[in-house]
């Protein structure tokens, strides 16, 4: 990373890059965006196909409680990763486990879990806010490129590697299991195991993307680019790559634009707003196509 930063500093000093490239945190943020974009885009495809958008949103919101618990247990307020991952994982696994053992409709069940997680998080955060600088909490909740360190990039790289490996090894079987679970079981595809692997990956992604997208908005970035791509594509290959393109370009632009125009907007918020704009444009394009 150091050599990349030095190279870009030199290019900026030589006038080849805009002034904002003199800041190391921007370069860290852009590298993070280049990893987060494909990660959220790729996994978002499966989130939408598996109809788990609300679930991933709930896991993202559970991060609120995870962060509060981490700080209470003495983890650094800027990166309480152990508690964040631990709580998100327990939340996601418990939700999935209860789902398979109750007849309550899934959306209602996720709603109950989401409400409990937010209420617990809100109660704990009010207490935690007295102990730490509230801006640090804002950074974790809504994302900030100022806080991205080399260790965060390393975590992102590892999580990205795990997700790519999982997609390469199980992607097709996971799709078949999603589209027709009974047929998949007959074909000896371990449907339940894939579900649990997916749940763990969502928890991992939430932790890895927390610095840039923010704990609260990670779920949105899994959902919005994929929903947009679904509107404008016709097959899985188009859907997957279009999703990654949207997600990555929104992540990069969400970091660069506030810097370029000196806007005091958290990176998570700007990324999600840009993705939402893309969604609105896709809806409009889709409507136009229907009348053409």
């Amino acid at each position: 990373m150091e050599s990349l930063r030095s190279m870009l500093f030199e290019l900026q000093a030589g006038g080849y890059l805009p002034d904002m490239f003199q800041y190391g945190f921007l370069i860290n943020g852009l590298v993070a965006a280049l990893m987060i974009g494909p990660l959220l885009g790729g996994m978002g495809s499966l989130v939408v196909i598996k109809r788990l958008a609300f679930f991933s949103e709930a896991v993202g919101h559970a991060a609120l409680t995870g962060i509060a618990i981490g700080i209470l247990l003495g983890e650094p307020a800027s990166h309480p990763f152990a508690a964040l991952f631990g709580f998100c994982l327990i939340f996601a696994l418990l939700l999935h486990w209860v789902k398979s053992r109750t007849s309550v409709p899934y959306d209602a069940l996720v709603g109950v879990f989401l409400a409990v997680a937010i209420a617990t998080g809100a109660a704990l955060l009010l207490y935690v806010a007295r102990k730490v600088n509230v801006h640090i909490l804002e950074n974790v909740l809504f994302g900030s490129i100022l806080t991205v360190q080399d260790s965060d990039l390393a975590i992102l790289a590892v999580v990205s590697g795990i997700c790519i490996l999982a997609m390469l090894l199980f992607g097709n079987n996971a799709l078949v299991a999603t589209l027709n679970p009974e047929l998949a079981r007959v074909s000896e595809i371990p449907v339940r195991l894939y579900d649990y692997i997916f749940v763990v990956l969502i928890a991992l992604i939430t932790v890895a993307a927390v610095k840039i997208a923010g704990a609260i908005l990670v779920g949105a970035m899994l959902l919005i680019p994929a929903t947009t791509a679904r509107l404008v594509t016709r097959n899985v290959m188009q859907f997957f790559w279009c999703n990654i393109l949207i997600s990555t370009s929104c992540s990069l632009a969400g970091i660069l634009l506030p810097m370029a125009f000196d806007l005091p907007v958290p990176s998570g918020a700007s990324i999600v707003l840009l993705a939402s704009l893309g969604f609105v444009l896709a809806v409009g394009y889709n409507r136009m196509r229907m009348f053409m």
Binding site: N172, V176, L183, N235, V236, M237, F240
Partner: protein
């Protein structure tokens, strides 16, 4: 040749309600066994129990004619045609994607090899879906979905088939196609277990009929079990 299937005291209870009273029968290898009975009689539940998809009481065992055999006979994974498959209407998954995902381990976000594409095209052509490979799953009619289910099942090259009302939604041409396929499987002595409501079809094609109504009411060749007429009320 397909296996024989033995059921030993197989029963099914769902949410405290007895769906099937204990059944103990032997389904002979290489035959077409047809499950008939009124709606809600437990036919589909029994079929799913045979597939291992439902938690049931008792024992179900498959006995393969060549336990250590290799080649086609060693393909032990059953082929299954579910009653009616539903797919998300706006999901960007085409028929070709779906078949490729079943056939190939190569992730769908990469271009599939020529061999896989050829295999998919061949299977779809066989089921009369050759010109519909680019259609999304949600755009398929009931009959087309049923043909797709047969296409994916054919890939398995199984000699054990479980079919749950396979003619549902099929037009006359589709029904003829599937009837011919079932005839080919019988010629190859595959074991087939099929839920079906068309008594004329049952009379014409079944080797063995099981009349199910919350349990096994009767079993035997159609000419003995179904005496006359078109309904299961006329059981011998």
């Amino acid at each position: 040749m397909g296996p024989s299937i033995s059921l030993n005291n197989v029963s099914l209870t769902l949410a405290g309600n007895r769906v099937l009273d204990p059944i103990s029968v032997e389904l002979a290898a290489g035959q077409l066994h047809m499950l008939v009975g009124p709606n809600g009689a437990g036919k589909t539940s029994l079929l799913k129990s045979l597939l291992g998809l439902m938690p049931h009481g008792g024992e179900i065992n498959r006995h393969w004619p060549d336990p250590n055999g290799k080649g086609l006979n060693a393909v032990r994974m059953p082929a299954y045609i579910p009653q009616q498959s539903q797919f998300d209407v706006v999901l960007p998954v085409t028929i070709e994607d779906y078949m490729s995902a079943i056939i190939s381990p190569r992730p769908l976000f990469f271009r599939q090899s020529a061999k896989v594409r050829h295999q998919v095209a061949e299977l779809l052509e066989q089921l009369g879906l050759g010109d519909k490979a680019g259609l999304q799953l949600g755009q398929l009619s009931g009959g087309e979905r049923q043909r797709l289910m047969f296409a994916q099942a054919l890939f398995r090259q199984s000699s054990l088939w479980f079919l749950d009302e396979p003619m549902t939604g099929l037009d006359t041409e589709g029904q003829t196609l599937i009837t011919d396929l079932i005839g080919q499987f019988r010629d190859k002595r595959h074991t087939l277990v099929m839920v079906h409501h068309d008594m004329a079809f049952v009379r014409r094609h079944a080797d063995n009929v099981l009349i199910i109504n919350a349990g096994l009411e009767a079993m035997g060749p159609p000419q003995l079990v179904l005496v006359t007429g078109t309904g299961v009320s006329e059981v011998a």
